[in-house]
Symmetry: C2
Subunit: 442 residues, 2 copies
């Protein structure tokens, strides 16, 4: 006898986006936040006992998307000072705005806005990385998202850590406060980069991460300038520097990894380190094009990230998939590059693997946590819907009607249910007026 | 005394997107399909007489977008056979599907679907080009879109023109049938390419276009392969071939123009010919990256197009703008390339210039036709909204709430008003079942 908390019926199911197989007329049963049953409607008992039933009515049901790199709180700076040279943008706009405006309250509200945007765009898991990450963690927990929250570490005065001497201690406090606290939240560490953290800081941070058994994120090989600088200072590439410092292992997540040499890819493969690609950010900042096909061919696990809103400027993983697929095709002048199924896998199960959550999320199967989304297919731009590729090349976050995370309905028919969206929009608008009052371009 | 058909009040106005200037608390008055008044709410008479008022309540009001190249009817083949090598895709999938399925009925319904998608994405003017263009013209007129409809010409058996000997006569019939028939529709001609039309066909078509005073569209210099082939056959580049044949003038619109040599850009500039760039199509097919900055610097007018749904796969000009801006930044490794205002201009007034409509649409000013859209800013991904750049890097078609074309409300609060969307979706789904019944990848 089935006895479920929630039953989704009459769906077109894409249980494992990486294989691209659609099953018409399917059901998904959820109990205790996990998938308890999945299959053809024909196999559903005539009178299943469920507290609640959602009729998907031919709409598409698939696992929620996984954003492997985000600085949620930077929603406040969305669109601030676009189209400027990189160093002008950073030094004259972003850093001053951060120095004056980033506090725990700002991080809380702006991370909550990021959570709203992500949930409403079909993202159910996020790996966030910023300062005052404690406030971000609270925001994501209240939003009901599955979250890896990584406290930022940098050898400069930073929001919440005015004296960089205390950056490792602050990170340790963060891990201590959040480990085992909330089943949806996994704390982690985020070293900003090899050019803003000393080798000693990097090693201490990775040591702390190893003790805690947590993920270690780092921006790595993002620009040609960074690679040149690291080579000048250390005589090797950024990846080789991490290897030399003993930092590469299966819990190290290298974000961006645009400018890699052949040997770097070998080091990543051998160490079982992970890579997150953020194509829209790399495009908008003019950073470059990551060697994705080479990384994938080498067997390096790759996840997809949006990066923060200053460089993207949104958190829509559907558009990120489409842009990523198109970019690599045109870069190689080869339309077979980065096929849609590769992107769908990267944004779901692949991302789960990068975050060490392959057994929990990223696929819909019995025993997996019930993180799933329903896409409204009854729209002109999704008609006809010949195959799942359509999600990559045509889908957008706004096509997502309903979102479940850990079995809980957090959005239904585009209405956010897990928190008060109007309150968050109001608080962020209030903070945005402070940005404009500073005379920032706006 | 004002006496208007429609008054939009309390808008944040972006009257000329190319200049990026926002005016808070603005109104727009419309009479007889044209802009009759525009300005600050403070300057609006206390009791304006208008048959109808729309309160935009702080939402953004701007000119409708202009899609300068589209094959609307190809919505039927959206997502068909993605990620395949170009020649396999064309010869084994697209051409056979076209040969078996394209008739006047298919073109009518699938163009209507394209119109729905474009209107719902904020596009108010389209330059469409296909076969059975008479059926497309009917569909776009019924949808209430401002349209340039170009009958396709090719030296092969084509839908509606089984014997290519009659392709010019069929085009002449089309022009004759539509000139002066509907104030929203301008007929034109579309030669498929210099490798599928003989020099004689090209010259006869352009001659016909000159007689009729209409635009002449052609796919030109889209791939490296095309350029190599034309050089081998004619000893010059595709642009130089058109010049030699006497086809380049201010009413010739060169679509794609990806692989241009320096001399080609000079020929385009001197002849005052126009270019349409379709970056998402060029990316997805692995065709290449057009030298946009060089064209713009040379003063060649450039419009933005989506191309058809087989190669894009949607008709969303907001995403096209964002993708275009990002692509050119990463290609040049320079974040200042193709700034947002350039894209906003290209998708509005710039496109109007390319289509010879600069006096009618693309800006909101007294006397211009009232083609405008209202963007719902009260959404997480558009918050905060520091400046119009946000539309380029974050906006999507689904953000458009309300659309007016020629003063007529064709969509309001995301409900399409100009025709029965459900009927069109149903008809296209019926046709899509025929595609799948043919055993096409789906």
């Amino acid at each position: 006898m089935l006895n479920h908390d929630l039953l989704i019926i009459n769906a077109t199911l894409l249980a494992n986006p990486a294989d691209g197989r659609l099953q018409e007329a399917a059901f998904l049963a959820i109990a205790d936040g996990a998938v308890a049953g999945i299959g053809a409607m024909a196999d559903l008992p005539a009178q299943p006992a469920a507290k609640r039933t959602i009729d998907a009515a031919g709409n598409l049901l698939l696992p929620g998307l996984i954003n492997c790199h985000c600085h949620g709180a930077m929603t406040l700076f969305r669109g601030l000072a676009d189209d400027l040279p990189l160093m002008t943008w950073l030094n004259e706009h972003i850093f001053p705005a951060e120095a004056r405006l980033v506090d725990a309250e700002m991080v809380y509200w702006c991370s909550k806005l990021a959570a709203a945007e992500m949930i409403m765009g079909g993202t159910t898991t996020v790996a966030d990385a910023y300062f005052h990450e404690d406030a971000a963690a609270r925001a994501f927990c209240e939003a009901g998202m599955r979250t890896v929250a990584a406290q930022g570490i940098i050898d400069f005065p930073a929001p919440g850590v005015p004296d960089p001497k205390h950056n490792i201690a602050a990170a340790a406090d963060f891990l201590g406060a959040w480990q085992g606290k909330n089943s949806l939240l996994t704390p982690a560490l985020f070293c900003h980069s090899p050019y803003t953290c000393s080798p000693e800081t990097l090693q201490r941070a990775k040591g702390l991460a190893r003790e805690a058994g947590c993920l270690f994120f780092i921006h790595l090989a993002e620009t040609r300038g960074e690679v040149a600088r690291i080579k000048e200072q250390h005589g090797c590439t950024p990846v080789a520097l991490l290897q030399r410092l003993g930092l590469l292992d299966e819990k190290t997540v290298c974000v961006h990894s645009v400018w890699l040499e052949k040997e770097d890819i070998g080091l990543l493969r051998e160490s079982r380190a992970k890579v997150v690609t953020c194509p829209e950010s790399n495009m908008k900042l003019g950073s470059g094009i990551a060697p994705l096909a080479e990384l994938i061919e080498a067997g390096v696990p790759v996840g997809l990230g949006t990066d923060g809103c200053v460089s993207n400027n949104d958190l829509d993983l559907f558009q990120e998939m489409g842009c990523c697929a198109r970019l690599h095709k045109v870069a190689a002048l080869e339309p077979t590059r980065m096929p849609a199924a590769e992107l769908l896998g990267m944004a779901t199960g692949g991302g789960a693997g990068v975050l060490g959550m392959a057994g929990q999320t990223g696929r819909l199967a019995i025993g997996m946590r019930a993180d799933c989304i329903i896409i409204d297919r009854k729209q002109p731009h999704l008609t006809p819907f010949h195959n799942p590729e359509t999600l990559v090349y045509t889908g957008k976050g706004s096509d997502v009607a309903t979102v479940l995370i850990d079995g809980r309905v957090v959005m239904e028919n585009r209405r956010l249910l897990s928190f008060d969206l109007e309150e968050t929009l109001g608080e962020v608008r209030r903070l945005a007026r402070r940005v404009r009052a500073m005379g920032m371009k706006g």
